[in-house]
Symmetry: D2
Subunit: 259 residues, 4 copies
């Protein structure tokens, strides 16, 4: 084990004995956190990324993972910044562990009438929802391809499949991310890198929903809202699939959902 | 435990302590057999169905499952026969165990130029690939709905998503089966019945392939052909998914596949 | 011109100078009638088919087409009957004109909970919505392929793309018809036969809608309901497309539609 | 008619009697040129846009349209520049004619392995293929919505539907453009603005293909390559569709195409 001063100053632990690193971009919300936690429980070093301004939330998540006896590194990074993403992956690979699993989980859900959608918003949603995913995918692929193994998982949404009213920016970003996942899967599958796209189709039991949906407790009691831990189990399952039968795309929605 | 003379004469065992029945229509080929075996290992009584003329193969499969200490019933039935399917489900429910899992796994893959496709072939492929699936789905739903639980799984194929050259009959049947799965999922999800459709996109390590693909051993050695057991694990996974995050559709293909 | 006693007894006119025959299966409702009329106006002999029990409606349609100075033949036939369909096409080809355009326009829209869907209904909807389409497609292809030209058009619906609640039978039939159209297009395109699938996504200004939708007049006044004549123009357009740029699938819906 | 000094200096003619303006972004290649020409023949003033460095090509196209007695304006503009696009639309609306038809036809087809795709390329392809389309769509919508009419057409490609190997950037841009078209169609349809997406699936008889495909003359002779004029006819057809039966999406491919 060697010491390493992470971006937010805490000492990170690199263990020889871990299964490798699981890098989660968008570890800030409930889903990303649950995914990171689930892979940490599987023995991977959770490398947690969200934008620097939310660094303290990231530290909290890292602490929670460590409290279970697992390994986590808080690595605040602007995922839309190409140089920063290259440096992030280099740091993890050289100082923490080989990236065995890379998860892209940035949402960027906005809804505006087309006439009120500014170029700034349209671009920013794409940078968060597509460009950052491309950077993660490419940098992960560069490291995984020579090793001949790895898993890259992209979180999709209802808007990955359907351009609904007011969703020109968000659906644009999610459609592009799905295109990326398909293209990478076709290219990297034969290199033994498993690329999958998970379509989360419904409300997630997240901070935003808890603060904005009045009947959220009722929904949760009825299993009527997506549980982040349940979502996370599917990410771990995808990573563990036999390579004779890999899934590229699956959807996830609550049993009660009207779709 | 009570004794019960099954259709092929052997004594079937009904146990109070099992998790219930897993009914597999199309248990004759390698995939259906592996699915039945996987659920038997999970504690379900495997109810194995294929057409009566293949009854001895069915007995062999049942024996193989029992040899592992699990429970299996050989129930040869013509799945295209409405009365026979109603009687089959009634028999299982009254004499074996409640059907907790119903799997439809009949293939019916044929390829003919449109001009050479007879009405008889077109109809038969639909009867095997769609109508039998409808009968299973409906009879299972009738039993599961009052209990408020259950899982119904349909095996799809590449031809479920794309009507390729020469596949007017086969793709017709598989498209219709996918429509059935979607329609049932939307209707039965809110009744806590999980309906899913699995798109198997590639060659399976089955008897047909072993007899017709020259380099099958090479493919298997490279994990380049779908393993029936790996497929089966996904069926069990779907049954065990948290209902806060159910999958309706996923694809399965070997890592090397060109798609 | 030669005389020929048609199935309902009237004398049919065969002209050497027509552009050929346009066979419309399902010419009974407003859409099929409008399509037949539109091709008749283009100079094709409209060969009108619906089931024999609606023979008088067919005669009315034929009269309406003739009243415009165009040619129509009422040919009541059970489109689900393979022998009858073979005989129908033989009769048209030998006694009327070569079939240049074949249109399949049978609907068969029903909605039942899965548990209440009888095997009889499920089968009948498929026979009307898929099997009859297969018979038309195959018989038309047999005649068109040796001539190296022709157009075959299939009418789809919302249920061609989505298996909604209660639509296991109807969506099953429409999905299968779409599979047929795709498969035939891939096979017959290189034989210079244009196969297309039109997804009609919305209410049509038909007798059923006029009798069941209270605000139909208001909808029509606002162009908020699909006009059969507008639909028909798209069928003619598809037939007239340059073969350097053929459309296989398009959707049609009113401007106001919520989709 | 009033005189107006256009961006490249030539005098543009504004006629009171035209049907309005047809703005074509990406009028540089053969397809965009053919579309502009087709709408000019219908009586629209063709407003031709491609990037300023290709201004002379644009002048040539404008001359060719004028040589037929129709109206064209060469308006070289960087379509990725929000301010420039706002100014372009303002100029057309105030100095030429109301925009009745807006066509987005920028391609940006590139293919790179994921590992060799630079951030610069990924971003530039999106800016050309998606962001510019968004700017056109939004600015057109702003002008059309108060008038309660208009047509906005987006050119798609095979990569709009499928993320093929090496197409992470191009498919990303085309998927996003399709999302935009869907979202705008759902929002603007009820405002009587027809938004459609045309999937061009095959090689077009364009300068690039003529210079790179050896057997292009043979293909053209056999109608085996998409004719720009044939494509253009479909754009005009979409604009002229009855609003009781609007098409949102159609595909175009040569009759011989293997798809």
């Amino acid at each position: 084990m060697i010491a390493f001063g992470g971006p937010t100053g805490q000492t990170l632990a690199m263990t020889e004995s871990s299964k490798g690193a699981c890098l989660v971009i968008g570890a800030g919300d409930d889903t990303g956190g649950a995914i990171a936690n689930a892979f940490a429980r599987e023995g991977y070093e959770a490398c947690l990324v969200r934008r620097p301004r939310n660094g303290s939330d990231l530290d909290d998540l890292a602490e929670a993972i460590r409290a279970e006896g697992n390994i986590a590194h808080a690595l605040p990074t602007d995922a839309r910044d190409e140089d920063a993403m290259i440096a992030l992956v280099e740091k993890i690979e050289s100082e923490i562990a080989p990236i065995e699993v890379a998860v892209f989980n940035i949402g960027a859900n906005v809804n505006f009438p087309i006439e009120d959608t500014t170029g700034r918003v349209y671009r920013k949603v794409w940078e968060m929802g597509s460009f950052a995913g491309f950077l993660l995918g490419r940098e992960a692929a560069k490291r995984m391809a020579p090793r001949g193994r790895g898993t890259i998982l992209f979180t999709g949404a209802t808007a990955s499949m359907r351009g609904g009213k007011g969703y020109s920016a968000f659906a644009g970003a999610k459609f592009a991310l799905r295109a990326l996942a398909q293209s990478m899967a076709r290219e990297l599958g034969p290199k033994n890198i498993h690329v999958a796209h998970i379509v989360v189709d419904g409300a997630i039991d997240s901070r935003f929903i808890r603060e904005n949906v009045p009947n959220v407790d009722e929904l949760r009691a009825a299993d009527g809202i997506l549980s982040p831990d349940a979502i996370a189990q599917n990410y771990v399952m995808l990573h563990n699939q036999s390579r004779t039968a890999w899934t590229h795309e699956l959807d996830l929605r609550p049993w009660q959902e009207n779709w």
